[in-house]
């Protein structure tokens, strides 16, 4: 009870300070607020097309101007997946008395034809849409993270509607670890290739030398697609790895 009052006082004081500062913020939708009229965002809006040929400014900023940020973001996702596997997966096999509960999936979950057939029909559409979101990320809202999450969700849908085993049959542990590594390596591989041509890390323009029929600007656009595919692979694999490990308490058997 005392904790609750103390917490309320702390929250009230912080909230009061924050609301006191609210009046100093720019008004809603003000195009000339410091954040909106700042040099950086103005530069991005005015020069993205000339610099990269990518209509979607968010994708261009994400994959090119702030390429380092996104690369290590992918690494963060990768490390999170590895950490979850290290926390849950390894320990699940150690204690002999602590046998994880083994469900018989057919007994535990009643087979429902409606759910099963709907899932079977909808999963290919979801996966196709995920690939569209990645491939069309230059021209419409989308990109590697979003497409990867959708693709990972399609595998999670299989695991929820039937059982974890049939999802793992399509996307086994060995495979998702391999794909997660491959995605991070594709991204850093683009950076390394630019280094080999004597440019800065992730300075894609020079890749026009090894790409067919492109100039420096178009090479940036194409490299962004490659980088986004790397992001998608890592995100897909790690999303499914997180679900598979959490739902089966690291045993990768039974599951929900």
């Amino acid at each position: 009870m005392g904790m609750r009052i103390l917490g309320f006082i702390a929250v009230f004081v912080t909230g009061a300070l924050l609301t006191y500062g609210v009046a100093d913020f720019p008004k809603w939708g003000d195009p000339h607020s410091p954040a909106n009229a700042g040099e950086v965002s103005t530069y991005f809006i005015q020069n993205t097309k000339a610099d990269t040929h990518v209509p979607n400014i968010v994708t261009a900023v994400l994959a090119d101007y702030r390429g380092y940020d996104t690369m290590f973001e992918t690494v963060v996702i990768f490390i999170a997946g590895v950490a979850i596997m290290a926390i849950l997966r390894v320990l699940a096999t150690i204690p002999p008395g602590h046998q994880p509960v083994q469900y018989d999936p057919r007994k535990k979950i009643a087979y429902d034809p409606i759910i099963s057939v709907t899932c079977r029909l909808i999963v290919p559409v979801i996966q196709l849409f995920a690939l569209y979101v990645v491939a069309h990320g230059h021209h419409s809202p989308g990109g590697g993270f979003q497409g990867g999450v959708i693709l990972g969700a399609s595998f999670i849908l299989i695991a929820i509607t039937s059982n974890l085993r049939s999802a793992l049959r399509r996307f086994s542990e060995k495979r998702f670890i391999f794909i997660a590594c491959a995605g991070a390596l594709i991204y850093s591989g683009f950076g390394l290739t630019t280094l080999l041509f004597g440019r800065n890390f992730l300075d894609y323009g020079v890749l026009s030398k090894i790409m067919f029929d492109t100039d420096e600007v178009m090479a940036r656009s194409h490299s962004m697609l490659g980088v986004e595919i790397g992001v998608m692979l890592t995100v897909t694999a790690i999303m499914f790895a997180i679900y598979a490990n959490l739902s089966s308490r690291g045993a990768l058997r039974g599951g929900l």
Partner: protein, 184 residues
């Protein structure tokens, strides 16, 4: 009261919402006894910050930060009656919102803004920054969401480990168990 409402609440609505959401999340993180409820509070806190950033990037009358595709040149080249109809449709569409300007309007707005960047001119396509919402908060929050997912996943894994070890997720019970094992 009405004056206060119109001058302090309405123009800063997004900031009020973010403060309230953030305090709800912080209160849950501080006072809740259950670890999962603490995690829910942390997620609410993160969502409040995402809302704060994205709402900072809003501009009145601006559209999403994706350039328009230029198919006007193509329609100029053909010039059939069907095409004229199409153009008419397009121009009526153009007058709808300030986000979609004609070339002349765009040039005018650019001149009024008074910035002549060599890059935009070289591309033959002057871009008025007031036409597009600020892309930078979107990019930053895209990565923040990813970090949120990663931290939430790891936190849930740690919670499962704690549950396996102590048989409970209540913080007070875990603390008494730790104290007992330290004494004994």
């Amino acid at each position: 009261m009405r004056e206060f409402f119109e001058s302090y609440i309405v123009p800063y609505f997004n900031f009020w919402v973010y403060v309230i959401l953030m305090m709800i999340g912080m209160f849950a993180m501080i006072t809740k006894n259950n670890l999962i409820k603490k995690l829910i509070g942390m997620s609410i806190f993160q969502t409040a910050i995402i809302l704060f950033y994205v709402s900072l990037g809003v501009k009145d009358g601006a559209t999403i930060p994706i350039y328009f595709h230029e198919h006007k040149e193509e329609s100029h080249a053909e010039g059939t009656s069907e095409d004229a109809h199409h153009k008419e449709e397009e121009s009526s569409h153009e007058s709808v919102g300030p986000g979609i300007l004609t070339d002349a309007e765009r040039k005018q707005a650019h001149l009024e803004a008074g910035d002549h960047t060599p890059h935009g001119e070289a591309a033959g396509h002057a871009v008025n920054p007031d036409e597009f919402t600020n892309p930078l908060p979107h990019v930053l929050m895209l990565t923040a969401i990813v970090v949120g997912v990663a931290t939430l996943g790891v936190a849930l894994a740690v919670c499962q480990l704690i549950y396996r070890e102590f048989g409970t997720l209540e913080e007070s019970e875990i603390l008494t168990q730790i104290k007992q094992s330290n004494h004994g």
